[in-house]
């Protein structure tokens, strides 16, 4: 159950079997996990489909899937980290650095596999440094990773030195091929999401994250090695950020200044928060995050198709985030979040 496909119909989600006999009211939707979110998603999708014929074409839908896959990978790592009471604003910056470094290396003629390995190691290392700072200096994760986010965005610019670096057709397989009609990027994202969801639900590692996010003192006293867990979680966030960077590179085929970075990160944070994961830790679901990512992707796509002035994109995204956060707050009172 850790992973429902984004297309899950709302009425399926709205009717748990034991309540099947009761009458359905909009108010009840609040008691269904992610009910409000699914409702908004469906409304947006239906509205767009009616207004713009091109929305439902497979070409467009595949495009949406490709676009949200990168955010989804970052959001998956972030969901686990935030559930454990952590925060990482630098995943977008980490992705940008990974993307630029990998592009430079590929451009210089290194083999694809070594480059992938080196970039992922680099990304892990960056995550680990974040983790070390947060764990041992006790600087608030928010502050520490915001600092490293700015720092990494700058480093990415330095690596490119103002140029665009193309990588030719290397890695296009990952970026543009499809498996059974699903883009490779989406397959990777789904695997990551599924892995995260299963980890959170079925492993002690995942439950440790809930315990640490719920009450770090109790977790420590219960024999959980909190410091080591934190380092592992930040390193995991790092490696997923690196993966996201590589996925983006394979999709774009080139690294340009200001690709990924803080903007991507904020979208991922928004998606996770929309999905109902608590900023304070202790609550979080990957399914919620999936819905959040899809909702933001669909909204962005809809604004494109409806030819809304692109300046409105951020306004609308912000509005969606606000509404979702308010709905989540109402919902939190009625149900435990995991």
């Amino acid at each position: 159950m850790s992973l429902k496909t984004p297309s899950a119909a709302p009425d399926v989600a709205a009717g748990p079997p034991e309540r099947g006999t009761r009458t359905w009211t909009p108010g009840r939707l609040l008691h269904v996990p992610h009910g409000g979110l699914v409702l908004v998603l469906v409304l947006v999708a239906v509205f767009t489909a009616v207004q713009a014929d091109s929305f439902t074409t497979s070409q467009n839908l595949l495009n949406v899937l490709r676009q949200i896959s990168v955010t989804a990978v970052i959001a998956a790592g972030l969901t686990l980290l935030m559930t454990a009471g952590g925060m990482d604003f630098s995943m977008g910056g980490n992705a940008a650095v990974t993307l630029c470094v990998a592009a430079q290396l590929l451009h210089d003629g290194c083999g694809t596999l070594p480059v992938v390995i080196v970039s992922l190691l680099l990304a892990t290392l960056i995550g680990l440094v974040n983790g070390l700072v947060v764990t041992y200096t006790r600087v608030a994760p928010f502050v520490a990773t915001l600092a490293s986010a700015m720092l990494l965005d700058g480093v990415a610019l330095l690596v490119l030195d103002g140029m665009s670096v193309t990588i030719g057709d290397r890695m296009t397989g990952l970026g543009n091929d499809e498996v059974l009609g699903v883009p490779c990027l989406t397959v990777v994202a789904l695997l990551v999401l599924a892995g995260t969801g299963l980890t959170m639900r079925f492993t002690t590692f995942g439950r440790d994250a809930f315990a640490m996010g719920g009450n770090e003192h109790v977790a420590r006293l219960s024999g959980i090695d909190v410091n080591r867990r934190k380092l592992a979680l930040y390193a995991l966030a790092g490696v997923l950020a690196g993966l996201a960077g590589l996925m983006l590179l394979s999709r774009l085929g080139a690294a340009a200044p200001n690709t990924a970075g803080l903007q991507t990160q904020l979208t991922a944070v928004a998606a996770v928060v929309i999905g109902g994961t608590s900023l304070a830790g202790g609550h979080g679901t990957v399914i919620g995050t999936v819905f959040g990512v899809v909702l933001l992707g669909v909204v962005a796509n809809a604004l494109n198709l409806l030819q809304v002035n692109s300046n409105y994109q951020l306004v609308v995204t912000g509005g969606v985030l606000l509404v979702a956060a308010v709905v989540n707050e109402f919902q939190r009172r009625s149900a435990p979040g995991h």
């Binding site: 492993t203 002690t204 315990a211 003192h217 090695d225 435990p336």
Partner: protein
């Protein structure tokens, strides 16, 4: 079963003796009912509050005390019945209206703005201003007047966060009285206080009464209620079982009324302790809080450390669990020294420390009962996978043994009553094969029946051959549980006795410097 033959509670027809004239009640609650979902919290409760009277509300956890008080304060709207005050009948109050009518409450958990001064806290929401700017001189002088009016001696320039819990309570009371509180609800004002501080709070309550305030006093401590209250109302399962002047009640009948049966919590015969030492603490010191503390606990023995709340015994948890490193001192479990200052080392030695602060150090409130129960055990067993069904199967016997009762399957532990949470906490630690156990105030804030259950659990623990060190600020509990008692005061050990060689009164006198009651 004398409790069941109590006078009928049909209200106005029976104005019982001893109370001030029946017509003078400032608040009259009549037939109030309130349900949450299917659970009835109040079933037709009547309550009269008179000015200049301390009215104690007693009852076990879940008896409906809090709900009743919240109805009076306007937090909850009753499903039926009325609340009459100021000559008008209300079928439901809002917090705002209740406040305007002079009803205020001091909740169990202190609600001061911890970063502000005492003066600001007292005047909050009503800061005297001159031309749009705060008139600080007036703030201080008015706050000082509010405090001294109640005979409280606290410097108004102190930061609220630096006050002791008792002082915070007093500041809150002063604030409410200054705002014109005519009915003041105090929810367990002396919980977690040392005897001296509790005495100060009780003196304050008496002052309030003499000023003509109607005080509602909620407490678990029977002795305290008998000493301070003018009238006692006992609730059980959401109904009033007894309401009478305190002079007509005695402790035994109070307990019967609360529980519905006699609580038997007497010392049972335990097997004699073994000879080898399970837990040895030598020369433990940390700053001025705990100095040169030494204790030896044999396997199967219960040794209590008794002292005023907040004294040396309250530091033991941090030091023994490895959260903090002592300045000097040595801890041995089962004959082997335990490296200090490391949680892991402490756990690995077989020492289990059960905190008295279950909210912040004991349980993950948002996690389910089962997961909390197995939180430590599963980590010791190095389980990597987590399956809800298997977890439930492992947790079921523990729930059973420790008598954890949840209304619905497996709710978040934070939704349980205090007594049940405490049992979860004990179950979490005591089922992990402890060699030695440190228990800090294991019956803090639990009702009488749960207390008896927990005492039995601790007896069983010792009977299993575990060395039990018990930190407590309750002489009753020490007399009930311990084989030996170490009395601490101002960070130092002042006496050590076999429990058979000392009476409760002598113990209280040693520990609390001859406190009244």
């Amino acid at each position: 079963m004398s409790a069941l033959t109590d006078p009928d509670t049909e209200g106005s027809t029976t104005v019982t003796s001893g109370a001030p004239a029946g017509g003078s009640a400032v608040v009259r609650v009549r037939g109030v009912t309130k349900s949450f979902g299917r659970a009835a919290a109040l079933k037709g409760v009547d309550l009269d509050l008179h000015p200049g009277e301390i009215h104690a509300l007693m009852g076990m956890n879940g008896a409906g005390k809090s709900t009743l008080v919240q109805v009076v304060c306007g937090v909850h709207q009753p499903d039926g019945g009325t609340v009459e005050m100021g000559g008008r009948q209300y079928s439901g109050l809002t917090v705002r209206r209740a406040r305007r009518l002079g009803i205020s409450s001091v909740p169990q958990r202190r609600e001061l703005a911890m970063g502000l001064t005492v003066a600001e806290n007292i005047m909050l929401g009503d800061l005297p201003a001159r031309g749009g700017a705060v008139h600080w001189k007036a703030v201080r002088s008015q706050a000082r007047a509010a405090l001294s009016g109640l005979g409280i001696d606290i410097d108004v320039d102190r930061i609220a966060g630096t006050l002791t819990v008792a002082e915070q309570t007093m500041v809150e009371v002063a604030r409410e009285v200054r705002r014109g509180g005519r009915v003041l609800v105090l929810d367990e004002p002396t919980a977690c206080l040392s005897a001296r501080d509790a005495g100060r709070v009780r003196d304050l309550v008496r002052t309030l009464r003499d000023e003509g305030v109607a005080v509602v006093y909620i407490s678990h401590y029977i002795d305290e209620v008998m000493a301070v209250a003018d009238r006692i109302t006992v609730l059980r399962d959401g109904a009033v079982v007894r309401s009478a002047p305190a002079a007509e009640m005695d402790p035994a009948s109070l307990v019967r009324a609360m529980v519905g049966r006699d609580v038997v919590s007497r010392r049972p015969e335990r097997p004699a302790p073994k000879d080898e030492h399970g837990l040895v603490v030598r020369g433990l010191s940390q700053g001025r809080a705990i100095r040169d503390f030494t204790v030896e606990v044999r396997k199967g023995e219960i040794v209590a450390v008794l002292g005023p709340a907040g004294d040396a015994q309250s530091r033991l948890f941090d030091l023994l669990s490895g959260r903090q490193r002592p300045d000097t001192g040595e801890i041995c479990v089962d004959g082997r020294p335990v490296p200090s200052g490391r949680v892991k080392a402490s756990l690995a030695s077989g020492l289990r420390c059960v905190t008295g602060d279950r909210r912040t150090l004991g349980l993950v409130q948002g996690m389910t009962v089962d997961e909390n129960l197995m939180l430590a055990g599963d980590r010791f067993a190095r389980r990597r996978l987590h399956r809800r069904s298997r977890l439930a199967r492992r947790a079921a016997p523990v729930r059973d043994t420790y008598g954890v009762v949840a209304l619905t399957g497996n709710p978040p532990v934070g939704s349980l009553s205090g007594g049940n949470q405490q049992k979860v906490l004990l179950g979490k630690w005591l089922e992990t094969e402890p060699v030695a156990c440190f228990l800090e105030d294991p019956t803090n804030g639990v009702d009488v029946a749960a207390m008896a259950d927990i005492h039995t659990l601790v007896d069983d623990l010792a009977a299993r051959g575990v060395a039990v060190l018990l930190a407590s600020s309750s002489a009753e509990e020490v007399m009930r549980l311990a084989d030996r008692v170490v009395v601490v005061s101002a960070g130092r050990t002042v006496a050590e006795h076999d429990i058979t060689a000392i009476t409760r009164d002598e113990l209280v006198a040693t520990a609390l410097g001859g406190q009244p009651q």
